[in-house]
């Protein structure tokens, strides 16, 4: 598997940065053959993962650190969103739709991530944090990736 590009971004857990994360990933992913609706869907998935890190991981405190990394290799984009927050006690339960306790929340973050990405992988440990890996593949065209080889 050849790595074509990678990036890593660290930011504070304030709500302004959800937009920053979306823009960063969209720009990072724009060099490959994702169509516009793929890019929109990737933005929703990233938005959900980063929002969860802020609201649930750090319980709304802006002082935590969220790490966003992305890796572009032949045919796939891999995004990781990591927090060092409270972690998830029952992950299976948390991933079910509509299971949030907050009436203002739909409990659909994981549902969106799973419907818009090819693969969603979660590592979590109570008291240590959560890392969500989002993977989406794209069609490899013959001359894609040329810029990275130059």
């Amino acid at each position: 598997m050849k790595i074509r590009n990678r990036m890593k971004l660290e930011f504070m857990s304030c709500s302004e940065n959800v937009g920053l994360a979306r823009v960063a990933v969209a720009a990072f992913a724009s060099g490959v053959d994702f169509n516009l609706s793929d890019l929109e869907e990737i933005k929703v998935a990233v938005s959900e993962a980063v929002s969860n890190a802020i609201i649930h991981g750090y319980e709304g405190a802006a002082t935590g650190v969220v790490t966003l990394s992305a890796l572009l290799s032949d045919g796939s984009l891999e995004i990781e969103v990591e927090d060092a927050g409270q972690g998830i006690a029952d992950l299976e339960q948390a991933m079910l739709p509509g299971n949030g306790s907050d009436p203002e929340r739909l409990g659909l973050g994981f549902v969106f991530m799973k419907s818009f990405m090819d693969d969603v992988d979660v590592w979590t440990e109570v008291g240590r944090g959560t890392r969500v890996k989002l993977i989406k593949s794209f069609p490899v065209s013959e001359n894609s990736g040329k810029t990275a080889e130059n």
Partner: protein, 112 residues
Amino acid sequence: MGYEINKEGDALIVKVYGEFDLHAADYARRDIDKYIRSQGAKHIVFDLGDLTFIDSSGLGVILGRYRHISEKGGRVAISGVPPTILKVMEISGLTRLIPFYTDFASALQSVS
């Protein structure tokens, strides 16, 4: 992101622009609820024609207002959802809960 809140008859018209995410959600929720109380609005029309992005935080604000309004016997309608956003709306189930209209006039008429 921005929003405009106006009143027409018994209905509050909430026009949302740009990106409706976590950052926008807190302000929007607070302002809309403030207007519902101060204006004594019974119904809401969300005009989403100029929305460029929405995720579960924005959808949660709409759903939360829908719950409050319908508990009190009011009606909610949505107009002008851009095609890029429709899929998120459909997966969320909001399209089955709240009537969607392509044009604003029909949405307004449906609640008045």
